[in-house]
Symmetry: C2
Subunit: 144 residues, 2 copies
DNA sequence: CTAGAAACATTCAAGCTTTAAATATTCTGA
DNA sequence: TCAGAATATTTAAAGCTTGAATGTTTCTAG
């Protein structure tokens, strides 16, 4: 016999997942407009400036090996360059090309034109943000 | 120049994604205990009773073709049966085997033992649920 | 200084997910 | 009735993601 509280929590997990999917679909729809996949668009969006592979992976919430995969694609399209890191020879320095920077601008414009969170007003969004920050256990992101 | 509101929304999307990942990791950890992958465990969990492929896919928040893939695995393990649908010859009727039902019980027990939402008390969870329900656009789940 | 631990990036294998296309069945309207 | 639209499922191809090595470079304790 499952308790009501457990059922409510499971339903809540489903809602979190559903909203995450809605957000992902929002990105995907706009990405294909620019000839990008969702993963590529996410990488481009997160590349706010020169950064290392690991840093990009963290911003994308994925494994470094996955970032390698995605950056490979973007590099082949001439949107990103892998340069030597100024101070750490282990690391790469990811830099947008002129084409990449231009496409990123168009992408950001598309992504901010309308929001996947349009159902919530700014006040509600702040409440949601507070709850999410509280729900996310810092150390437990992965293999913690 | 990007507006503060847009930046806040993007950060909020990141938090939603982060919590979804935390929930997924929670499922994955317990799934491997039973020799299941995360996707298989999700399918088993959502199979609350006999249902069609499409219905399962919707409960799993994935494409029907993906449900086919996952159900294939569960069927090979003897946990699920694909039967003829009583009234619609296009559809399949998914039914748990005795083994499948038993494993599902163990899975549910593991999943409810501790929650991936332990950071929130019941009252906060209700607030979160209300916000998520409001944020999720019914028709826009996919290609809407 | 130096050996071992740690960190950065990559490769590979395995599994997950989506898209598009194909088949079979049901529904709808003339 | 019957043609066309819509629905349920599956297949194949492409792409995504992870986890376990591997090689290189840096850090750290002694």
């Amino acid at each position: 016999m499952t308790e009501p509280q457990a059922i409510a929590e499971r339903e809540l997990c489903g809602l979190v997942n559903g909203l995450a999917q809605q957000i992902a679909d929002h990105v995907r729809e706009r990405a294909v407009t620019l000839g990008l996949t969702a993963a590529q668009a996410t990488a481009l969006r997160e590349l706010t400036g020169p950064m290392t592979m690991r840093e990009l992976a963290e911003r994308m919430s994925c494994e470094p090996s996955n970032a390698t995969f995605v950056v490979d694609k973007l590099e082949k399209q001439g949107l990103i360059e892998r340069r030597a890191h100024p101070t750490d020879r282990r690391a790469k320095h990811l830099v947008l090309t002129a084409d990449g920077a231009a496409l990123r601008e168009r992408l950001l414009e598309l992504l901010t034109r309308d929001s996947p969170l349009a159902g919530l007003n700014p006040k509600e969004q702040r409440v949601l943000q507070g709850l999410l920050e509280q729900a996310i256990v810092p150390g437990a992101g992965r293999r913690g």
